[in-house]
């Protein structure tokens, strides 16, 4: 635990000590805001809710989260600090968890900074704040799942660009697996159960459900298992590739 906390602190200091944090936060806020207003037609809809805002989150995460995740391990391997880190008295799992939690908290802090949107809708109207809270949670869970996937991919390579592209592709796959087009491909040959499972795995459909205020235990289990599985793979990959 002590080791995990130390790693989280170090990683958070690294985020906020580097331009990455500010670029990430500014871009996230700017894009989230402008998409909501211009593409989401928030003002025209004339409804006091944040649907038009949250709808864009998975798509923003699709390239912002791999950008956070790509450095987690690829950079450590490229600069040789992995050898320094992994010869401290910590387990690989502790390092993986610490780095993941720090990244997730970092993205969460960017998410929290969108609170003016929430203030605005409450000023303008009378939104369902329960739904908004659920949407924030769902958004953060999507980011967490994508971050865990990106981190595992990042452990595969020393090259951050490769890590970014592969992670974005993997996240896209998980995001889209419930979309009809993807489902159609599977249902043409896969058994019904498998097709359904794949549909259930979709981050997008799950997120949309949560964003409508439906918080089902199954959704939390989906995110939880996706994150845990990715972190498991992450540990295995780090162990495997450590000396190579």
């Amino acid at each position: 635990m002590r080791a995990i906390v130390a790693i989280i602190r170090r990683e958070l200091a690294a985020y906020f000590g580097s331009p990455l944090a500010y670029v990430f936060i500014v871009i996230f806020l700017a894009l989230a805001g402008s998409m909501t207003f211009f593409l989401g037609g928030w003002l025209e809809r004339g409804r006091a809710d944040l649907q038009g805002f949250f709808n864009w989150h998975p798509w923003l995460y699709l390239f912002l989260v791999p950008a956070v995740g790509m450095r987690l391990w690829a950079e450590e391997r490229r600069t040789g600090t992995l050898e320094f880190l992994m010869t401290l008295p910590i387990t690989t799992a502790q390092a993986v968890i610490g780095k993941f939690i720090a990244g997730w908290l970092f993205i969460g802090s960017a998410l929290l900074l969108t609170f003016p949107m929430w203030l605005t809708v409450n000023y303008l109207g009378d939104p369902d704040n329960g739904v908004i809270l659920a949407s924030y949670l769902g958004s953060w869970l999507v980011a967490g799942a994508m971050l865990a996937i990106s981190a595992a991919v990042s452990a595969l390579t020393k090259n951050q660009v490769i890590a970014f592209v592969l992670a974005a592709a993997a996240c896209f796959g998980f995001l889209m697996s419930g979309i009809e087009m993807v489902q159609a491909i599977f249902s043409s040959w896969a058994p019904e159960v498998l097709a359904r499972t794949i549909a259930d795995l979709s981050l997008l459909t799950t997120f949309n459900q949560i964003a409508e205020g439906v918080i089902d235990l199954r959704y939390l289990i989906l995110f939880g298992s996706l994150i845990v599985t990715s972190l498991f793979i992450n540990v295995a990959v780090v162990e495997l590739k450590k000396g190579a």
């Binding site: 002590r2 080791a3 906390v5 130390a6 790693i7 602190r9 170090r10 200091a13 690294a14 000590g17 580097s18 600069t79 040789g80 600090t81 050898e83 320094f84 992994m86 010869t87 401290l88 008295p89 910590i90 387990t91 450590k242 000396g243």
Partner: protein, 314 residues
């Protein structure tokens, strides 16, 4: 002797390359082991296996009685490791990274302050504490790496080229530091600086192509040097021709090397046949022939010569 590090039949293969091939040795408390070998001999690979970063293909490593494969955390708690090139997070400052390591290692606030203070003082880091490591000079980076390895005052120290890139003052300071620490610890340093071995190591292991080719005290290694107990004379040109002629024929001389040191002065080095002490014979010959010498002394031998002989491609 209290064995702190025991390595048994350690091997590491990278595909077809046998980087380390059946290395065994023990290091006891109080020993400073110099780990020598040409580039690519397998020094860093061996050290990485001791630190538990690389898994051996075969063989075992025990640190303070703990097996690296079974009990990696117990080993790392007792080990201070400076990886090759002293990698450290470039965006952190020396103060920040020392604090991080102290936290990970579980030093309490008191111990942390005291140990970091000691490292800052011993490695002269006070001037750079707040500067990002990326912007430090090579020598300072190395010193930060050393501070991180020594921070928890470990019983076993594995240092991969600790003095590489240090200025002569700092080299001296680090050697003094390691000398002082050595009493309670087992220390392994890899180095390409052979004088360092003579200066601080109680023992040297030379490896070539993954195998140990010599394991002895520095003075025992010097016995194998052609210059071991060679007699060196410095003399003026007038005596030179006579000395050269007389001494070349002297019984027990295996060879003569000559080197001009100035326009009319030279140095003659008489290499002895194995086990022969030349000095008295040389003195007698010189006296009998009334040859003047400015200087005469016995060499201890040259480690670089031994190193070359032992590591030459077979």
């Amino acid at each position: 002797m209290d064995t702190l590090l025991a390595i048994e039949a350690l091997s590491k293969r990278f595909g077809a390359i046998a980087a380390v091939d059946g290395v065994s040795f023990k290091v006891g408390r109080g020993e400073v082991l110099g780990f020598l070998g040409p580039n690519g001999a397998g020094k860093s690979t061996t050290m990485r296996m001791i630190a538990g970063y690389l898994a051996p293909t075969a063989g075992t490593v025990q640190v303070c009685g703990f097996d690296v494969a079974q009990d990696p955390i117990a080993v790392r708690q007792r080990l201070g490791y400076l990886p090759e090139g002293a990698p450290a997070y470039g965006d952190m400052t020396p103060a920040g990274i020392m604090r991080f390591v102290a936290e990970v290692r579980g030093l309490d606030a008191e111990a942390r302050k005291q140990r970091i203070g000691a490292m800052v003082e011993r490695l002269d880091l006070a001037g750079v504490l707040g500067q990002p490591i990326d912007t430090l000079s090579k020598g300072f980076k190395r010193r930060v790496g050393l501070a991180l390895a020594l921070l928890h005052d470990p019983e076993v120290l594995i240092l991969d080229e600790p003095t590489d890139g240090l200025d002569p003052n700092q080299k001296h300071q680090v050697r003094t530091l390691l000398g002082e620490l050595s009493a309670g610890k087992a220390i392994i340093i890899s180095t390409h600086i052979l004088e360092e071995v003579e200066a601080i190591c109680s023992r040297a292991i030379i490896i070539a192509r993954g195998r140990i080719v010599a394991d002895a005290g520095p003075s025992e290694l010097l016995v194998h040097s052609a210059h071991h107990h060679a007699v060196t004379l410095r003399l003026a040109g007038a005596s030179l021709a006579g000395a050269r002629r007389l001494l070349a024929g002297l019984d027990g001389v295996a060879g003569i090397e000559e080197r001009a040191t100035a326009a009319d002065r030279a140095e003659l080095i008489l290499l002895p046949k194995a086990g022969v002490e030349l000095l008295d014979r040389v003195r007698q010959t010189l006296a009998a022939n009334q040859l003047q010498v400015d200087e005469i002394f016995i060499e201890r031998g040259r480690l670089d010569e031994v190193f070359r002989d032992l590591t030459k491609a077979a």
